[in-house]
């Protein structure tokens, strides 16, 4: 089973994306092939320079940095959403692969998870 975890929510304001990341890490823990797709406001998970100390929250970019260590296959990022949020693929907090979101992209995975 190949899985794609879709994160289309902005970081910090709610816990949904964080819970999606936990699910993705669990798949990786059990050696299930899993990738993440960041789209819409979700691309802001990958923005450099995050510092949530004043919010008393964990730095989500740093947590996401553990993805490769845990065996997450790829971080995919919607290139249109990157542009919309003035982000560039060369300056993200973790290496991510720009993709065009399409039915064909989703079609490559057996299981799609979007919290």
């Amino acid at each position: 089973m190949t899985a794609l975890v879709v994160i289309d929510r902005a970081p910090y304001g709610d816990w949904r994306g964080r819970e999606a990341v936990d699910m993705g890490f669990s798949l990786a823990a059990f050696d299930q092939p899993v990738s993440f797709l960041f789209t819409g406001p979700g691309v802001n998970w990958l923005r450099m320079g995050q510092d949530a100390t004043e919010l008393s929250q964990k730095n989500l970019a740093r947590q996401l940095g553990a993805a490769a260590i845990f065996g997450v296959e790829a971080l995919l990022v919607d290139h249109k959403a990157l542009a919309a949020y003035q982000l560039s693929v060369d300056t993200l907090s973790s290496p991510a692969q720009p993709v065009t979101v399409s039915p064909g992209l989703y079609g490559q995975y057996d299981h799609i998870l979007c919290l």
Binding site: M1, A3, R16, S26, A29, Q32, L113, L115
Partner: protein
């Protein structure tokens, strides 16, 4: 549509009762799954849905008591129901073991719900024929 052979389902609920429609849509779907002759391997509560397993929820008497209704459904059809431990601990849904571990004054997990980890969800999605999520609408 031709009748397929019996299928196994894993249902994941992520929306809380009285906040979202998720637990009731999931229940109607679950009933229809059983009525169609299929099997439900597992129900998994994640995120805010863990409130569905709180035995302390008190809805007004003219509203459905979703915790009891779900509990009866699970008992009747012998469906294992798992509450994600990480979601549950944060939201104050504890069984006796976690109550002791975290030294809290009470436990409130409605049977037959059980507290376990995301491994149960992974197991369900890998082994069931069908996996469906019931999310909140926000």
């Amino acid at each position: 549509m031709p009748k397929t052979t019996a299928l196994s389902f894993t249902l994941i609920i992520t929306g809380a009762p009285y906040v979202s429609q998720a637990p009731q849509t999931a229940l109607e779907f679950a009933r229809a799954v059983i009525a169609a002759g299929h099997r439900i391997d597992r129900v998994f509560l994640y995120g805010d849905a863990v409130h569905l397993a709180s035995t302390l929820a008190c809805a007004p008497s003219d509203e459905p008591q979703w915790t009891q209704i779900w509990s009866e459904f699970l008992e009747t059809h012998r469906v294992p129901a798992i509450v994600c431990i990480a979601s549950a601990l944060r939201r104050g849904v504890l069984d006796e073991k976690e109550q002791k571990r975290y030294q809290r004054p009470a436990h409130n997990l409605e049977p037959p719900f059980e507290i376990a980890g995301l491994g149960e969800w992974v197991e369900g999605t890998v082994s069931s024929d069908r996996t469906l999520y019931f999310h909140p609408t926000d």
